[in-house]
Amino acid sequence: MAALIEIDCLTKRFGAFTAVDDVSFTVDRGEVVGFLGPNGAGKSTTMKMLAGFVTPTAGTARICGQDVVDRPVAAKRSLGYLPEGAPTYPEMTVAGFLDFVARIRGYRGSEAAGRVAHAMGLTQTEGVRLQPIETLSKGFKRRVGLAQALLHDPPVLVLDEPTDGLDPNQKHEVRALIRRMAPEKAIVISTHILEEVGAVCTRAIIIARGKVLADSTPAALEAPGRTLEQVFRDLTTAREAA
């Protein structure tokens, strides 16, 4: 069976600037890929292309075999996406917002209500279900964004900094949630917290200046007696000096 995420020679240029340069990788069911890189390395742009928000300059991306440019609606149906910064409509209540997402995804009536309740349960947001999102703390906002991405139990999850702004306990819970879901899904998370990669990821991809510099298991990257942080610093600063 083909991989759930297939990225092939993906490139994005903004004018003369190449944000993502010929990136290729695949993610199978059961894998949790940690997408690492310094700020501005092209992590978010790659994820935006995968989600069908940014149109690639060259190359292709497929989700469950559906090309994100040629068959965008089919590709998006299989995808749960948490955009950078977890944007939500501030004036809506948590339940109202999730109900909106459920309806767009085609759920109606008791099924929609069930999906919303389940997503709130997974992210522990039931306690604030009737509060307007703008009144919530940063951690709750992030979890509402996560609930939106998990609502339809998608085979593919693309999460841009899912634990940013959470306190240590919440981080722990989100990581546990990702680990629990991992066996049935293909998951890509971006982060710049290196210990997170060791905690949840089965594979790490290090990217800088739009290019993939390393693609291996966290254990293999650390193998020659170095910490992941040393590997990350060596790979990403070497390039900048060059």
Binding site: Y89, R103, I104
Partner: protein
């Protein structure tokens, strides 16, 4: 349909902020004041809503762009455009949903002018068919201006620029048929004078206020609205990530 879900969310959004109330109150006050003072509603001794209908397109010229300027600009500012456009629906449905919500809102504002209809029916025996045709004309003018405003909002992140551009383009459509413009053009470029008269929203609208609903006027409004919604969809597709 996803467009209706988007429309429902948008319309509810108008009423949780003061935007809706300010818009409706100002519209009703100005429409009323202009009808009774400048329009000489009582003095002219005719049982119709002629003075009211004269002023509505000119009020819409400023109020409709105020309504549409935030349509896409706000989504960009909050980052929710990334969420909205990565949900599994064709992009035109998001465009249509936003337009329908704004149009429904204008219909609500127009419906709230019902005391004028009651007044004129109490004082005399107006032709209610003509009044109904006039209201239909108002709604079509609102639709055309809304589509212009929505397209301008898609082009820029800046709400003030969106407002000014929308007023300018709507003014072109409103003033195209006025004697100043057509006389100027017929003296110099006679060919364009006919074009200008053909593009005039005001002239088409006047047919409605006389109680004439002609197919060619309906086609005109449908074409203008459809064209600018198309522009809106194209602009969003190309510039969504900017």
């Amino acid at each position: 349909m996803a467009a209706l879900t988007v429309a429902r969310r948008e319309l509810a959004g108008y009423f949780v902020t003061p935007v809706a109330y300010v818009f409706i109150v100002i519209f009703l006050m100005m429409a009323g004041a202009l009808t009774f003072t400048l329009g000489g509603f009582f003095g002219r001794g005719q049982a119709d809503l002629g003075p009211f209908f004269t002023f509505v397109p000119w009020l819409f010229l400023f109020l409709v762009p105020a309504l549409t300027m935030r349509l896409w600009a706000e989504e960009r500012r909050l980052g929710t455009i990334e969420l909205l456009l990565t949900l599994p629906m064709p992009q035109w449905q998001a465009v249509a949903g936003k337009f329908l919500a704004a149009w429904a809102f204008c219909a609500i504002a127009l419906a709230l002018t019902f005391p004028l209809v009651l007044t004129v029916n109490f004082l005399g025996n107006p032709d209610n068919g003509v009044i109904l045709a006039g209201y239909a004309g108002c709604l079509l003018v609102a639709g055309a201006y809304l589509s212009v405003g929505a397209a301008m909002s898609a082009m820029t992140k800046n709400q003030v620029i969106a407002f000014v551009l929308a007023v300018a383009v709507c003014f072109l459509f409103a003033a195209a048929g006025s004697p100043v413009v057509t006389e100027f053009l017929s003296k110099r470029i006679p060919m364009l004078a006919e074009v200008a008269r053909g593009l005039s929203v005001t002239e088409r609208f006047n047919n409605f206020t006389r109680g004439v609903i002609a197919l060619r006027d309906l086609v005109f409004f449908a074409s203008v609205t459809g064209f600018f919604l198309f522009v809106n969809a194209v602009v969003i597709d190309h510039r969504k990530a900017d």
